[in-house]
Symmetry: C2
Subunit: 404 residues, 2 copies
């Protein structure tokens, strides 16, 4: 067996309560535990825009649902995505030559890396970030090199940390922007520093923009592929799972220069197969009328402020105001380790949150709370209240506030 | 860029008329050409079992359509698959421990190979077979080693051909059974020879059984994982695309021993992401009442006999009776090369078939005709008749029959 596949966490024999592997989650759901650990908008409630729903049903009732869409993706969907890219990302692309549809952005991320990363190749990854980022290079025979970001610096880029870790084996920088779990939006000057670094060292950059749709407080969002010299060396990975709340559809897309897409087109069948036909038809409807995204964002904006108030009102607990999406990155280090607090909250608040440690260097001492779940605010606020009461009790039990 | 990704065929800049890459197919469809090149049952006609349709629509109307299913797959679907595996494959498996749902069997095939194949590893692949089989090892840094099968031997296994090619770098045998494009069903003694070989050389075996559902003339079908000593070293790859005609759903599944599934579970999110939620719910309905598969098979059985009659009535053209599915592997070598005849049939019969050459060693001189397409027999037979008339004319033009 290849080295990268040995000692994987979260498999069949693992006892971890991780969110996205094994049967742990379904077992917890059966127990009636509230899930605030899965970045799936309004999960598990029924929420779907009417026009998206109708398009999908029509494709099943009268259309091509049972038939393959070409592996590289539905051409009409690419047209609609090109319009969105122009309007939202300021990217001008040829839909037929620069866009590839993938069955979700997870396999899309792996696919984007595969042509470039092999035996011994190193990938620089700001940390904390999405757990897959650290495992993906390893699965390809390469090496993940975490580059620590600091909370006190608002998780922005310190390019000296990249310079310290670059080597002749470095082939790629892998970014998540906005970041998961910290929700940080990398500012233009952070991205410009990375761009200069990537160009100077002749690297490829893969950027996961799954959380780009909801950015708050008028923070400028910059797609790094639009910076000078970056288009020809960037693969941008997008998803309709987060901003559009269409996680179960499994539709993502890659955007890149002709020369990169040429290679990916040539092995799309092999690596990702094709994407579900009806879901692509639904995605067209979603792309063409994105007004529902604004409605969702208003909900998430209200919620992040509530979570911020609640968490910061707990002695020994703190968090920064989320800059994007529906994730809160909560410092619980005064109360215990990530694992301890997560376990404690299952037992004492009947809520599952994410441990911080899988998010890499800088994750210990934090938990991630997904406040995009449940359609009914009251369910969410009730769960937050239980978290608050449980942590206040823990604080008292440990006598932290007195010392803190 | 990794070696395996250089010089890929079928990318953006390719002019090939291949079936499953680029926009070639959609361009031809717009021209009104009949497609007999895509192994997608009844394409492009509307065919879906009523109970499958209703289940999918309910999942969108009232259910979890927009939400993730766990990456390792829907638990109820696995239960239903386990029943099917017992009844149809004589495989007794634990649904939670031995089955992994994938977004189609293409990414499933790649995923099955990934833990085992890296830099310089060799994979033995009977040829001709599914084109992806030859490219997949290369994309992983390995080497595809074709093992030629012979038409005169009904494409059964000659194990000396394997023995000749085995080396210390050999890690895997990759089988397609029943085979695509030849439709051959490997007989029990062929599979026993491979099993002995795989065990003796301590290899892993990946078998793609996408075409297992329609086997004709009471030929025994054996799932190689059921042979003694093979369960613990076999990954069986299945699909609902072919036998169930649900290609657009993109649902496949892997079946393997606990120890292998443990590793795959540990990186499912990374490599394949999760599978479309509604499609998995539709797949449950399909698995629970598989009577429609028998109806489809009756149609394909009738058609293969018609194609056999028609093709063998053309001077200079011959084919064996298909043993499975809805593919015909037609020897046109007396009339021209695969490329010449395929091109000729687009121009003179308004029909796209597959060139034989992408199917590897032994593919030159053949074309693959998909006779599972179109719901209306008359459309199919009209296309076959145009192929016949065009090839008879070509035969006359070339004077082959007189010499042949």
């Amino acid at each position: 067996m290849r080295e990268g596949f040995k000692d994987l966490q979260g498999g069949l024999f693992a006892s971890v309560h991780k969110a996205d592997v094994g049967n742990a989650v379904s077992d917890l759901m059966k127990r009636g535990v509230d899930l605030m650990c899965w970045a799936d908008p309004f999960f598990p409630d029924l929420v779907i825009p009417q026009n998206v729903k109708q398009s999908v049903i029509d494709s099943i009732d009268k259309g091509m649902a049972t038939h393959y869409t070409m592996p590289i993706g539905n051409s009409d969907l690419k047209q609609a995505i090109a319009v969105k890219l122009k309007e939202d990302n300021h990217m001008n692309v040829d839909p037929d030559r620069n866009i590839l549809i993938t069955p979700g952005s997870d396999s899309g991320l792996m696919f984007a890396m595969m042509p470039f990363i092999g035996e011994g190749d190193e990938v620089l990854i700001p940390a904390p970030s999405y757990p897959s980022n650290f495992l993906n290079p390893k699965l390809l025979g390469g090496i993940a090199v975490p580059v620590p970001l600091k909370e006190e610096n608002n998780y922005q880029i310190e390019i000296e940390e990249f310079e310290k870790r670059v080597s002749p084996q470095t082939k790629m920088v892998l970014l998540t922007n906005p970041n998961n779990p910290t929700s940080t939006v990398l500012r233009r000057d952070s991205l410009e520093k990375i761009a200069t670094f990537v160009i100077e060292h002749d690297l490829v950059l893969v950027v996961d923009q799954a959380f780009e749709d909801a950015i708050y407080d008028d923070i400028e969002f910059v797609s790094i592929a639009t910076l000078p010299g970056m288009w020809e060396r960037t693969i941008s990975v997008f998803s309709i799972s987060k901003g559009m709340g269409l996680s179960g559809f499994r539709v993502g897309y890659l955007v890149a220069d002709d020369k990169i897409i040429d290679v990916l087109y040539g092995c799309t069948v092999n690596v990702i197969g094709a994407t579900n036909t009806s879901a692509q038809i639904g995605a067209i409807a979603a792309m063409k009328d994105r007004s529902f995204v604004k409605e969702y964002n208003a909900i998430f904006d209200r919620r992040r402020k509530a979570v911020y108030e609640i968490m910061n009102s707990i002695p020994g607990v703190s968090m920064a105001m989320p800059e994007s999406g529906f994730l809160s990155w909560v410092n619980i280090s005064k109360l215990g380790t990530s694992a301890e607090i997560s376990k404690y909250l299952i037992d004492h608040a009947n809520v599952v949150v994410n441990e911080g440690t899988p998010y890499g260097v800088g994750g210990e001492g934090y938990i991630r709370i997904v406040h995009g779940c449940y359609k009914d605010d009251n369910v969410l606020y009730a769960a937050l209240e239980r978290i608050k009461q449980a942590l206040i009790q823990l604080d008292i039990d440990k006598g932290v506030a007195a010392h803190g």
